[in-house]
Symmetry: C2
Subunit: 209 residues, 2 copies
DNA sequence: AAACAAGTGTTGCAATTGCAACAAAAATGA
DNA sequence: TCATTTTTGTTGCAATTGCAACACTTGTTT
């Protein structure tokens, strides 16, 4: 599992964080810490735990932008528009490292070796994220629920090199991920089952083609 | 406009590229150069021109994964699965820089200053890309064509700080971006117009709310 | 300038989907 | 353990959408 400090030892990491004036913060469950970081552009990193990034639209609706877990980074994509209001909510006990974006993006006269390594890790993490986003978009782009499901199955099965898919979330959440109505999705899964394309046992789906 | 070599002068760039053993290639229009880079994991960068990244699915369908222009990077998200076949097609005359992924991700004993700067730029470019993908996902997640259009308008208008939207593509392409049927979208735009939400003049759309 | 290709507007109709509502099952937690 | 919440399966129905087909406009090429 790759993280932001992969290939750095504890000492290098400690010095780097000090040099970047990073804050390490431990949150308990269900804390919204957006107000703590909203003033400055940051790069955040989840050492352990998980959080949800939510946007509150001006019209009152709420959108879950991202669900982040250990080793995920965040903050860099948030627009600095005063009209937009976000929530950074911890879903469990969570340890977060918060760094000043400017500090990271300035010339770094010292600590170059570990700094370079961190930047490489940072790039790997973002590249992985883009790949995930591309997959999500490819799924959402399919026109029917059936095609969305099949595309999701195809990608997941491919990534895990396995014909048995162990859903990483509930069916309710899967419907949300596919951006379709849950009951309509349930209907479609039943049809795929009846037509012999898949076998379903709880949240385990086996591809039969 | 930020690029991969922003904040580097010509000499630094030249040395860095030499050190990374990068290839600079000029393609004419409509060339598929995927076969030239498929063997090794690369990071590609478009100095000028534009290309389309297409995936050929095993079942015969083709998906446009990305349309890339000047200053875009590519290659890092392509899976190394032998079953997947891609096309990297130039849409115009295009100048591409191709770098070996491994070379970039290895410890860099020399050239550290310009290397660090490039890594910072690389991160900025990927971060921007994630932001774009998030926006796209947010649009695709809306359930009705109307809501997709309004979300697209909202984001575009916000990013440009302007109530007049000059579509960066044809209506046919917009429909593709929103993943909806073109004629159905056309129908919906007409209704938005009739209801007084927008004014349309060619590919210029004015938000009236 | 003529010929051709690509993009756009419009419509009827059938298929798909979202919505609402409810019961049953499973998971959670006190 | 029992109570409560969350998840899941199911169905009828109305609304939305995709599809097909066509005419018309716009843009491109020779």
């Amino acid at each position: 599992m790759e993280g932001l400090f992969t290939h750095l030892d504890e000492n290098e990491k400690k010095n780097l964080l000090k040099h970047l004036e990073a804050s390490i913060i431990n949150f308990s469950e269900n804390i919204n810490f957006y107000s703590m970081v909203k003033e400055v552009k940051i790069i955040g990193y989840i050492e352990s735990g998980c959080i949800e990034i939510i946007r509150n639209n001006p019209n009152g609706s709420r959108t879950i932008i991202e669900e982040l877990v250990e080793n995920d980074i965040f903050g860099y994509t948030i627009s600095s528009d005063p009209g937009e209001e976000f929530e950074f909510i911890t879903k469990t006990k969570t340890k977060v490292i918060v760094m000043d974006y400017k500090k990271i993006m300035q010339q770094q006269p010292m600590e170059l070796t570990s700094y370079s390594q961190m930047m490489r890790n940072l790039f790997e993490l973002t590249a992985k994220k883009i790949k995930e986003k591309n997959e999500h978009i490819e799924i959402l782009t399919k026109k029917t629920i059936r095609d969305k499901l099949l595309e999701y199955f195809r990608i997941t099965s491919f990534n895990n090199r396995h014909k048995v898919i162990d859903l990483p979330f509930t069916y309710t959440e899967l419907a949300e991920y596919l951006a379709v109505d849950r009951s309509a999705m349930s209907r479609e899964i039943k049809m795929l089952k009846d037509e012999g394309f898949i076998a379903v046992k709880g949240r385990k789906i086996t591809l039969l083609y």
